[in-house]
Symmetry: C2
Subunit: 314 residues, 2 copies
């Protein structure tokens, strides 16, 4: 089976990166483009930090910490410890020393007037990544988490500082009107044969991407398969706050709810074989083992999804 399609993946952080790594095993790197959530991005100590871009970069370049799925392997925290000990900074956001190199290079490029798209291209090129990683927008469009007891929180405050424990009442995307889909993302989508939606958190990681003005309409006009992969496995989230947030937003915790979240947008849905089967009007559903425990499982799932989609047009 020749996999010569151009594939664009809408993607968040750790969960999505697993599928990204699988895809990278079965598709030529040049044919893979990732449009990455930047709603988690923030400025911290004067550094621009892009957690989802970093996770994907580190995963695809083999630098990622295999224990956590984010950050750099074998990283130290001498700078962070000095910030805390000598300068009284609360070290709630982990900044590894090696990781700092990424933030420094990116921030310097942005300060010199480069877009985040260009800065990311520079970083990925240096890391030897031949797939394209595109931020969903070059504008700042931070995700704001409205919570029951802590008011409005920036994403990292919610996710890292408060360990996603506050009860979410709604999720907003700031300065949304000023953001726009980048030329590079538009170009990638126009040349795509398949669009995948990674098994990232739909509300925290995909919703920000889909909130970029023009993206939903642009996707709707593309005559190609758009397929989402469930982040819900066995009626629960593999890791992180997906199920918790669904519960707080009064959404039934099921793959069907996720498919419903993407309704009118997707033509196919990859469900996990552990979930209760469901159907939806006009939606093709592949039931597969989506628990990507190791590289071979990631690769197998990527291959299975692509073969399934190819089958549609045979």
């Amino acid at each position: 089976m020749a996999l010569d399609e151009n594939i664009v993946v809408l993607i968040g952080g750790v969960g999505g990166a697993k599928l990204a790594l699988g895809l990278a095993q079965v598709v030529a790197a040049e044919r893979l483009t990732f449009i990455v959530n930047t709603g988690d991005d923030f400025w911290h100590l004067g550094l621009k930090i892009c957690p989802d871009l970093d996770t994907l970069m580190y995963t695809l370049s083999g630098l990622v910490d295999p224990e956590t799925g984010w950050g750099r392997a074998n990283d130290s925290t001498a700078a962070l410890q000095s910030l805390a000990t000598n300068y009284g900074f609360e070290p709630w956001f982990r900044l590894g020393d090696k990781d700092l190199a990424t933030h420094l290079v990116r921030t310097d490029l942005l300060r010199r007037g480069h877009t985040l798209t260009d800065a990311t291209a520079c970083l990925t090129e240096r890391l030897g990544i031949r797939s394209r990683l595109l931020p969903m927008t070059d504008a700042e469009m931070p995700t704001i988490i409205e919570t029951k007891d802590h008011g409005a929180l920036g994403f990292q405050e919610y996710f890292v500082r408060h360990r996603w424990q506050p009860i979410v009442t709604s999720i907003k995307h700031k300065d949304c009107r000023l953001a726009q889909l980048t030329t590079a993302a538009r170009h990638a989508l126009r040349n795509a044969d398949i669009v995948l939606i990674a098994p990232s958190n739909p509300w925290l990681s995909l919703a920000p991407i889909l909130a970029v003005p023009g993206l939903r309409a642009f996707l709707a006009g593309l005559p190609l398969p758009i397929v989402a992969v469930t982040p819900i496995i066995g009626g629960a989230a593999v890791k992180g706050p997906t199920a918790k947030i669904m519960s707080e937003l009064n959404i039934e915790i099921s793959a069907a709810s996720v498919a419903n979240f993407y309704r009118n947008m997707i033509s196919g849905f990859v469900d996990d074989c552990r979930n209760e089967a469901f159907t939806a009007n006009g939606l093709r559903i592949l039931r597969a083992d989506t628990l990507m425990t190791d590289l071979s499982a990631k690769t197998r799932l990527a291959r299975e999804i692509l073969a399934w989609i190819k089958g549609w047009t045979r």
Copy 2:
């Protein structure tokens, strides 16, 4: 002997920091103010780096690397190594991981609109330093080294990248007209009882301070002892390029030449007992052991200089 004078020290990096540490042993911290050379400052990877301020901060807070006299003790270089290995940056300027914490905090404060004077006050306060460290100016006034074979070099390019090997033809201070003495420095000088000129490199470290518009005239109007300490010991520099530069600028390598460099400005000069004795019209000269090999030697020299100056007015 009660040392209740207010002392202002014009000072550069490693050499001067030795005397600073000695003074800190014999004078109440609140009575000591350092006006520090910022001609060596530069922007590197988006970070504002102030080598002389850092050296003095680390020395006075006890964090300095005792081997080098600059940088932090027991520092690692994981970030720098990642910058080199992963992102292709030439690691010519050593950035320690702990050291990075300082650069990050300072840069963040500057980006938020604070002056270098305020940023330095914030850093020193966090480090528990009760003496005042004042940059010579809040403007950027980088020292430019004109060289025979490499053209004009930024200070750190000359000093670190080229290990002060290029032949110096002249030394310039960029954007000098826009710089001015800060209110804090002016206030400290107005309240000073004694001004010391540390045994730093006169041409590389003191000349930039003296080039700050208004400083020389301001000093000339102060009715108080101004005393310089020789950086030349036994007819040579203890360390660094002082003697080499004097030779390249066709200046005789002697303490007398240093005293002559400060002529019309100083009322006293501390010469090293190893140097050939000299006299200069109207200049009081103390001959002392100025080789500050350990803390007791630093303390002894500081005490001897201050006692000598006090004797003038008895």
